[in-house]
Structures are given as structure tokens and as C-alpha cells.
């Protein structure tokens, strides 16, 4: 369909070249932080909050809120991309690297995929490799303040190199598997991988 032009459409005048190179195809820069959730926001009590790493690991691990806060911290500063087309450039989160959690639980050699599961029942799936090597975090602070409940607080997964539905809110744990197992949106028409730079939004993209 090359060559089509929308009569009379100019578009917002583009920001600088830097912003243009930071925006994946089909995305626009958003200064706010929109909320996209399929259901009610779960209210999670910090007193009973636990994060587990289980499945194909040498030793399943569980952290309380106090215990996870005591782990070596790790920050993310950069860009996030939602499949509904907004990107938020130059934002920051603080928490712990998923590497730290995996090292504690010791993935077994046959572990190849992960299902992130959440309070409220949400799930999303990722290759284990997408969670290792400094590419993923469990975060509880956004831009210096506690992560609000509507954005996934107390703690959410953050996998900024994939569309944001992979960064599961209200994270309860990670289950390591020897096979891929599509999660909530991945079963409802959204892409299994979700790489914004390849514009993997929907099935078949």
C-alpha cells in the first residue's frame, strides 16, 4: 500500500532526530504514563506479599517484601514502549535485577522459558534469555516514588526491550519451564514475542 497519502494530514511537527531514532515504528512519544489493564487493579498487602521463583530451578526461592528490598538494588533508566502505540522516553525505575533472583534459584539447564504470574491472575510468557543479562528487573519505584498500584505496585516485572504487556504488573512470581506457554494477551491475539523494533504487535506480525 505504498504511496498512500492521507489528504490534509500533516501530523504533529516532529521532535528532534534523537527522539525519532528512539521511537520504534508506529510509536509516538507520550509524556504521561497511561494505564492499560484488562481488569480491576488488585490491592496487594505488603505484609503478605511474596515473590517466588519456581519451576525448573535447583532450589525454589521466595522473598518477602523486606527480604527483596535487602537485595542489591538495580536501576533502569531509558525508554518503555506500549503496544497501544505510546512510548515513554527517558523514564526510570528502581528495584532488583532479575539476574539476582535467578542466580539465587539456579535455573536448571533444561529451563528455556518463563511464565510471569501475578496477583489478579494475569500471566505473560518470555524466553528465559530475555530475562537474563541485565535486560529485566523487578521494580517497585518509578521516578523516585513508590510504584503506584495502577502501574503494578507494589512490584512489577520490567522488560523494557519488549512491549510493556510483557512487564507484568502486580508480579507474584516467575515459573521456569522447558517449553513455551502463551500467557494472557499472547492467547488473545497479541504477539508471542512482542519486540517493538520489529513491530510485533499481533499474531502473525
Amino acid at each position: 500500500m505504498g504511496g498512500f497519502v492521507s489528504r490534509g494530514f500533516r501530523g504533529r511537527r516532529r521532535a528532534g532526530a534523537e527522539q525519532a531514532t528512539r521511537l520504534p515504528p508506529g510509536q509516538y512519544a507520550e509524556t504521561g504514563f497511561p494505564v492499560l489493564t484488562a481488569g480491576p487493579t488488585p490491592r496487594v498487602d505488603l505484609a503478605t506479599w511474596r515473590l517466588t521463583v519456581e519451576g525448573l530451578v535447583a532450589g525454589p526461592r521466595e522473598w518477602t517484601w523486606e527480604e527483596i528490598q535487602a537485595l542489591p538494588g538495580s536501576d533502569f533508566e531509558g525508554d518503555i514502549h506500549c503496544v497501544t502505540r505510546w512510548s515513554k522516553l527517558g523514564t526510570s525505575f528502581a528495584g532488583v535485577s532479575v539476574d539476582t533472583l535467578l542466580e539465587a534459584a539456579e535455573p536448571r539447564p533444561e529451563a528455556s522459558h518463563v511464565v510471569a504470574f501475578c496477583h489478579g491472575g494475569y500471566t505473560t510468557n518470555l524466553p528465559l534469555e530475555d530475562l537474563r543479562g541485565g535486560k529485566a528487573w523487578v521494580v517497585w519505584e518509578h521516578e523516585g516514588a513508590p510504584l503506584p498500584a495502577e502501574h503494578g505496585g507494589p512490584a512489577r516485572l520490567l522488560v523494557p526491550h519488549l512491549y510493556l504487556w510483557k512487564s507484568a504488573k502486580w508480579l507474584a512470581g516467575l515459573r521456569l519451564l522447558d517449553h513455551d506457554a502463551p500467557g494472557f494477551w499472547e492467547s488473545l491475539g497479541y504477539h508471542n514475542v512482542g519486540d517493538p523494533w520489529r513491530e510485533e504487535r499481533y499474531w502473525g506480525d
Binding site: S6, F9, V35
Partner: protein, 245 residues
């Protein structure tokens, strides 16, 4: 699954709904149909090749002759002022879809239905109500719809007609900013008391669909859960500061 391809749609009709809202009736060759509640991606291309894409809920029922999108013009928006201000019959735009597999309803999914809308959040719910009417569904349904003023109510006359059909649909309006003389309905934002008065009891196990601005949806979904409704039967769609569904 094949890739959802971009299709060239032609604007057949531009229908004003309110001062800020229009419905675009589109001819989409090869359209495969949709489920009520699904949306489409719209892509605009400027002469220099710059493109902007956004998602919009489908307002029409499956099986309608045309695919209808109802768009609210956001003054600081990039795409909605074009769709709801510039487009004329005969113009074309690119779209692909339908997408979204969760915020959807068909009669077979049962009820009773509780639909709660804020502003243009009524659009996907209207697709459900139109489909319900078109299929002769008897699933009991209640729509609670919050607007700023009576002039801001989208689909007002059609909702009146649907509610008057006597097929088990009740429509309740809340006007938050101004009310016409003699208004006896709700004159405040949706709250828990209103949801109890208008909605179903938790024991009736309604299926709830809530769509609107983030603040309204956060509040209503939280109130429904607090009233004892099953969170798994409360489906939500929020649109953020820029109106993205």
C-alpha cells in the same frame, strides 16, 4: 494466523454525534467482521511519509454494512483532530484489525450485563448493545453512562430507543457538570452508591464491562470489587491522558 494487513477504507459518511464527537462510517473492502468491543488500528500518512497510528474502538455491530468508528476530538491530539475534523466523505484512510480478544461480548457469553461508561468510553459498549439488539438477545443489560452535560451524551436518541424497546435493557445517565432544567437523574460522578442502585447484586453474578478515562475506570472497578463482585468478571478498558483506548 496470517498477519493483519492494512486495508484502505473509504469514508462513506461523517455523522456528528456531539460538538466534539463524530462517527465515521467506513467502507472496508474485504472486511472479515469483528466482535463487539474490538478495535482497529488507524494509520495516517503525511505527504513527506511521516505516519501516525492509533487504536479506535469499533462502534458498529458485527454484520453492519459499514465499519463505524466514533472518535472524540482531543484538542492536543495528533490523530483525533484529523479524524474528527478534517475527514470528508470520499476520503480514505488505512486501517487494520479487528484486534483485542478480551474486552468483547457476544450473547453466548451470558450475563446479566453491567456496562459502565465514561464519555467516549461508551463506544465499544454501544457495539455490544447494538449487537444485542440486532440478535434479539434477551440477556438482561444495564448501562450506567457518565457524561459532563446532556449535550455531551453520545448516541443519546439511539440509547433512548434501545431502552424503550422493552427487551431487558435499562439505561441510566449521570451528568457530572451541568444538568438540564428538571433533570431528576444522577448529577454526580459514578460512585459505589450509584453502582448499588443501578447495578446487579454480586449474587446475580453480572458480567461487567467498564470503559472510560483511567480515573473513572480505576474508581468503578475498585468499587465493584469492594461491593463483592468477582474481579474475574469485571473487564476494563482505560484511556489515558491522550485518549488512547
Amino acid at each position: 494466523m496470517g498477519r493483519l494487513s492494512w486495508r484502505l477504507a473509504t469514508v462513506a459518511e461523517v455523522r456528528p454525534e456531539t460538538a466534539r464527537v463524530v462517527t465515521l462510517a467506513l467502507e472496508v473492502p474485504g472486511w472479515d467482521g469483528h466482535l463487539p468491543g474490538q478495535h482497529v488500528d488507524v494509520r495516517l500518512t503525511a505527504e513527506d511519509g511521516y505516519q501516525a497510528e492509533r487504536g479506535y474502538s469499533i462502534a458498529s455491530a458485527p454484520g453492519s454494512e459499514r465499519v463505524e468508528l466514533t472518535v472524540e476530538r482531543l484538542d492536543d491530539g495528533e490523530v483525533s483532530p484529523y479524524l474528527a475534523g478534517e475527514l470528508r466523505p470520499g476520503d480514505q484512510l488505512e486501517l487494520r484489525g479487528p484486534v483485542g480478544g478480551y474486552f468483547v461480548w457476544e450473547p453466548g457469553r451470558g450475563g446479566p450485563l453491567l456496562l459502565v461508561a465514561g464519555g467516549s468510553g461508551v463506544v465499544p459498549l454501544m457495539a455490544m448493545l447494538r449487537h444485542r439488539a440486532a440478535t434479539g438477545s434477551q440477556v438482561p443489560a444495564r448501562l450506567l453512562y457518565s457524561s459532563r452535560t446532556i449535550e455531551d451524551v453520545i448516541y443519546r436518541e439511539e440509547l433512548d430507543r434501545l431502552a424503550a424497546a422493552g427487551d431487558g435493557l435499562a439505561v441510566t445517565h449521570a451528568l457530572t457538570r451541568a444538568q438540564p432544567a428538571g433533570w431528576s437523574g444522577y448529577a454526580r460522578r459514578i460512585d459505589a452508591v450509584m453502582l448499588e442502585e443501578v447495578g446487579w447484586r454480586p449474587g446475580e453474578h453480572p458480567l461487567a464491562y467498564v470503559c472510560g478515562p483511567t480515573r473513572l475506570v480505576e474508581a468503578v472497578a475498585g468499587q465493584l470489587v469492594a461491593l463483592g463482585h468477582d474481579p474475574a468478571r469485571v473487564r476494563t478498558e482505560r484511556f489515558g491522558p491522550t485518549g488512547v483506548p
